[in-house]
């Protein structure tokens, strides 16, 4: 891994893509004013693709073929007879998976996602992320599925690639209202039990819940061979707690009211928030999951760029350890 996947909104200008001209990035505020989600996603992806020509990287769908020495028990259908004729040795021909990437987008629609102080809500931002990824992948003819959840599963669209699927997906994202509580475990469990084929799972949530059972559920997904990416969507005030006046604070998820003087509690809030984030990061790095923290005022192209570069790194790394039947790519 070349760099930590966590980056914050503050380093928009100084990140690896900082050398690019600023006007190339679309301001998320203006983007969110586009009502149509599909249009919004297309704007992001097109902007991204135009910038991609200058990118030193060449996509991530590289094909690999491999020979492996035959061992008793292997299917003899896959023996390369031509190679046997040449070398008088049995080799098994290893194929790439024939299907395209199956990507599952898990979007948190709980009440806490309806919070936002920059003119739009976290949920809006998360939906745009999901739409962008879905659109991007559909351009590459990959299958995309969607699962929206709050304290229960709201909608589940299996991963497919067919005409109109992407439109259906966008519709589902658009109409999904915000629920009340968050239950990530249930969503992860649903994916783990219903999706047999390995693929990519993208969890888009603010993860402002207890982390007790998260590790187990994520580990379960990883163990089934899924590639898991966590995109943590946060409002800037949640990161720095930039309130100044004492006030009644209303928990929009539990409905609890507390009188809080920000000046006196900021230190402890930041400390606790940091501990929570640290714990989350430890869980993710332990399981080999990429974790991206996305403040909602950050341009979405950067998110897409981070995601792809991270994936490229991962693929490079995983080529060396490829298993005979495994392999992913699109």
């Amino acid at each position: 891994m070349s760099s930590t996947p966590i980056s914050s909104s503050n380093d928009i200008g100084t990140s690896s893509g900082g050398s690019r001209a600023k006007p190339a990035l679309i301001d998320p505020g203006s983007l969110m004013r586009i009502k149509n989600l599909e249009l919004r996603a297309r704007s992001v992806v097109e902007g991204f693709l135009t910038g991609l020509h200058r990118s030193p990287y060449h996509g991530f769908s590289v094909e690999f073929t491999e020979y492996r020495q035959y061992s008793p028990g292997d299917d003899t259908r896959f023996l390369d007879w031509k190679l046997f004729a040449r070398s008088d040795r049995y080799f098994i021909k290893c194929f790439e998976d024939e299907t395209n990437l199956r990507c599952h987008l898990l979007v948190d629609m709980s009440r806490s996602m309806s919070y936002g102080t920059v003119g739009y809500q976290k949920a809006e931002y998360a939906k745009t992320i999901a739409a962008t990824i879905a659109y991007f992948l559909s351009l590459q003819r990959d299958a995309v599925g969607l699962l929206t959840f709050d304290e229960s599963i709201v909608d589940h669209i299996p991963a497919r690639f067919r005409p109109g699927h992407i439109h259906r997906l966008m519709m589902s994202l658009e109409r999904t209202p915000t629920g009340t509580a968050t239950d990530i475990e249930k969503a992860l469990e649903q994916i783990a039990t219903t999706v047999a084929k390995r693929g990519m799972v993208v969890l888009i949530s603010d993860l402002l819940t207890s982390l007790d059972t998260l590790e187990k559920q994520l580990g379960y997904l990883c163990a089934r061979g899924h590639e898991v990416v966590v995109l943590r969507v946060l409002d800037p005030t949640e990161i720095d707690f930039s309130f100044d006046k004492p006030a009644m604070f209303h928990d929009i998820e539990s409905g609890r009211d507390l009188f809080i003087d920000p000046e006196s509690v900021r230190e402890s809030y930041l400390e606790q928030f940091r501990v929570h984030a640290k714990a989350l990061q430890i869980i993710c790095s332990k399981l080999g999951i990429s974790l991206h923290q996305l403040p909602i005022d950050r341009p979405l192209e950067l998110m897409l760029f981070d995601l792809l570069s991270d994936r490229l790194n991962r693929n490079r790394h995983s080529v060396r350890q490829r298993s005979p039947l495994g392999g992913s790519g699109s």
Binding site: Y115, L208, E238, P246, A247, H250, L258, F259, H276
Partner: protein, 702 residues
């Protein structure tokens, strides 16, 4: 300006509340929604760090509102008139009533009572009138309420203090009801006379035993204007027992006679182990009998003594609380068997069952209390009956001589009772004139009917004292008595004859004639076997006993009395002197037939013409009670319990009343409430104006 309820001034302390609220920096006007409070802890309300008050105007308005509210509650008013003077308030009249019954002899009760009374006197207001009464069974006025004229108050109080020093408890019972009623009436009477309209108060200093008598109060209305202040004096000791000698029943034989004593232990007593013994005047004592009586119960025990060695006159209880000894002696007249003589005029012998004496002498068996001797009077005997040797009863069954007739007449004159039994028609003829001109009914000659024909008693006057005991339905059956023979007489010429019973044929069977103080009874038949079945009937013995009872008449009905109980004294005799237990002697008036000065317990002796007869006087049982009466019992009788106000207090009350009236007329508090409402309105407007900008800011932010 004055205030009715100054204590509401404390309400101004509530001004601190708004000041405190102003200092507390709690600003709930800002309201933020936040995604999750999981990393936040509530901040406690704080005082502003600078401890500086802002919003001075609001604070001032709120404080002023609270201040005005407090003042409104204090009910301010303007005093206009001049003050009242002491002369405007009524004076007080206090009657001190001291219980001097026997129970006040206990322990140091009397000392405490006197101390209490002196305390009351010394704590009187200078203008208070005071009087002093004491009571036991009767009320004694020591310093009356009417005494006031001519003597100034100070002298009067000194007089009361002197009287208290000389006062001592007596031995009577507690007539609380009549004493209270009398004192209340006296107070009202004195108040009406003097037109003082004073506040009337009785201070009762008593031990207020549960057994005090209150019946008078039940039948009378307690005057409302008199209040009763109770000063109950309770003994420190809580144990007391009393004893009584039980009268042995007549059935008992002489040999078995052991005096039986009942000992009652008062409810709530702590001591339960006692001893009882006999004692005489010199202090010689019989062997004591120990026993155990639980509190609130009584026990009957036998206390024997050797009659040969001791002639005791009192029972002594020991083991009782030391200070409760006032009721530990029970005085008893030394038990002496009464010798009763019946004079019998007749010639038949005592062992002849055909005669009448045979039955008469066997009708009265000897008991511990009495022995009846039937003395036969020989026809030529000279009779000389003196006082105390007089026969109790005279029975005449044959014709008596002139001398004997005059002797019997003399006996009748002294109140004697004589029964003449007409055994034959000859006797009717002989004694007819002496009996008051009794004549044989010539029409119906002596019914010499044979054995088959008989007569029974046809009419009996059960209202006559002689037959009163037989009046009940169970006893009034005289049909078993058959008379074979009876003397048919007519009484038309007999003066004052009262026919008590008649035979079936309407001839008189039994009649009485009053002769001076005595009574002469005549029976128209006899209890001879030949004449009737009377002697063998169940009515014979009771009837004779009843005759003896009536004949005993005005002798001592008993020999044990309670203090202050009038004792009936037999008449006759030249000089009658009563010797009191303390050896003082009282000569009785000739006419009086009761003795009322039984003021102390002990043995009293009546001496008539050198003969002496004793009776015992004891403290009433009720005085031994140690339980106190419930005060509610007095309240139920309508007595208003409590102290009347002193003149100063009355004045204060009048002043308060007048202040209330003034305040009620002026009603300043209403204007203050209006001012408070106006202030609160201003405060609301100001507060709204100050909070609005922040709310709009909040709205815009959301």
């Amino acid at each position: 300006m004055s205030f009715l309820f100054g204590s509401f001034l404390l309400g101004t302390a509530a001004i601190l509340a708004p000041i405190l609220f102003h200092l507390i920096k709690r600003t709930p006007k800002d309201y933020y929604e936040f995604s999750s409070l999981m990393f936040l802890k509530p901040t406690p309300p704080q005082l502003t760090r600078r401890s500086r008050l802002d919003q001075w105007l609001l604070l001032a308005i709120r404080s002023l509102a609270i201040l005005l509210l407090a003042i409104a509650f204090m009910r301010p008013y303007f005093r206009a008139q001049a003050d009242l003077s002491l002369a405007d308030a009524p004076t007080r009249h206090i009657a001190i009533l001291i219980d001097r019954s026997a129970s006040m002899q206990r322990g140091d009760l009397w000392k405490k009572a006197i101390q209490d009374a002196k305390w009351v006197v010394s704590n009187l207001e200078p203008t208070d009138e005071v009087s002093l009464f004491a009571f036991e069974e009767s009320l004694e006025t020591l310093v009356g309420p009417e005494y006031s004229t001519g003597v100034d108050r100070q002298q009067r109080r000194q007089l009361i203090l002197d009287q208290l020093d000389n006062l001592s408890p007596l031995w009577g019972g507690t007539e609380l009801g009549s004493a209270l009623q009398n004192v209340a009436e006296r107070l009202i009477e004195a108040d009406d006379l003097s037109q003082a309209h004073a506040a009337l108060q009785i201070v009762l200093i008593a031990d207020l035993q549960a057994s005090s008598k209150l019946d008078v109060l039940q039948s009378n209305q307690w005057p409302e204007s008199v209040r009763l202040d109770l000063r109950i004096i309770t003994p420190a000791e809580e144990s007391n027992a009393r004893l009584r000698l039980l009268h042995s029943s007549d059935d008992e034989t002489v040999d078995k006679q052991i005096p039986r004593v009942r000992v009652s232990n008062a409810l709530g007593s702590k001591i339960e182990q006692f001893e009882v013994n006999w004692s005489d005047e010199q202090g010689q004592q019989s062997e004591s009998v120990p026993f155990y009586v639980p509190a609130g119960e009584s026990l009957v025990i036998e206390v024997p003594y050797e009659q040969s060695r001791l002639t005791p006159d009192r029972l002594v209880l020991s083991g009782d609380d030391e200070r409760m000894e006032f009721d530990n002696n029970y005085y008893v007249v030394p038990p002496i068997q009464e010798q009763i003589t019946i004079a019998y005029f007749g010639s038949d012998s005592d062992d002849d069952p055909a005669g009448m004496r045979f039955y008469l002498s066997r009708a009265f068996s000897e008991t511990a209390a009495r022995k009846v001797n039937v003395e036969s009077v020989v026809s030529n005997a000279i009779l000389n009956w003196e006082f105390e040797q007089l026969p109790r009863f005279v029975v005449i069954t044959e014709t008596i001589s002139q001398a004997h007739q005059s002797a019997v007449d003399k006996y009748l004159k002294r109140g004697g009772h004589v029964l003449v039994v007409l055994t034959s028609e000859q006797m009717v003829n002989d004694l007819g004139a002496w009996l008051g001109n009794v004549q044989l009914d010539s029409a119906a000659s002596e019914s010499t009917s044979d054995q088959d024909s008989y007569v029974m008693l046809g009419t009996i006057d059960f209202r006559h004292p002689l037959f009163v005991p037989f009046a009940g339905a169970r006893y009034n059956d005289f049909t078993k008595i058959r008379f074979w023979k009876h003397r048919a007489v007519k009484l038309q010429e007999v003066e004052n004859a009262t026919v008590i019973a008649r035979f079936e044929d309407q001839t008189p069977a039994l009649w009485s004639v009053n002769r001076d103080k005595g009574v002469l009874y005549t029976l128209g038949s006899s209890w001879n076997r030949e004449d009737s079945q009377f002697a063998r009937s169940t009515k014979f013995v009771p009837l004779l006993s009843r005759w003896l009872e009536i004949a005993a008449g005005n002798r001592f009905a008993g020999d044990s009395y309670v203090v202050n109980q009038p004792v009936p004294i037999p008449e006759g005799g030249e000089t009658r002197i009563i010797r009191m237990p303390d050896d003082t002697e009282i000569r009785l008036e000739d006419e009086s037939n009761t003795f009322k000065q039984t003021t102390q317990p002990g043995i009293y002796s009546l001496m008539v013409d050198g003969n002496e007869k004793s009776f015992a006087v004891n403290v009433a049982d009720s005085e031994s009670e140690i339980q106190s009466m419930e005060i509610e019992q007095l309240e139920q009788l309508g007595i208003s319990i409590g102290t009347t106000l002193t003149q100063a207090e009355q004045l204060e009350r009048m002043r308060q009343l007048r202040d209330f009236e003034l305040e009620n007329e002026q009603k300043l508090w209403k204007w203050l409430i209006v001012a408070v409402l106006v202030l609160l309105g201003i405060e609301t407007l100001l507060a709204a104006r100050r909070t609005r900008p922040s709310i709009s800011f909040q709205d815009s932010r959301e």
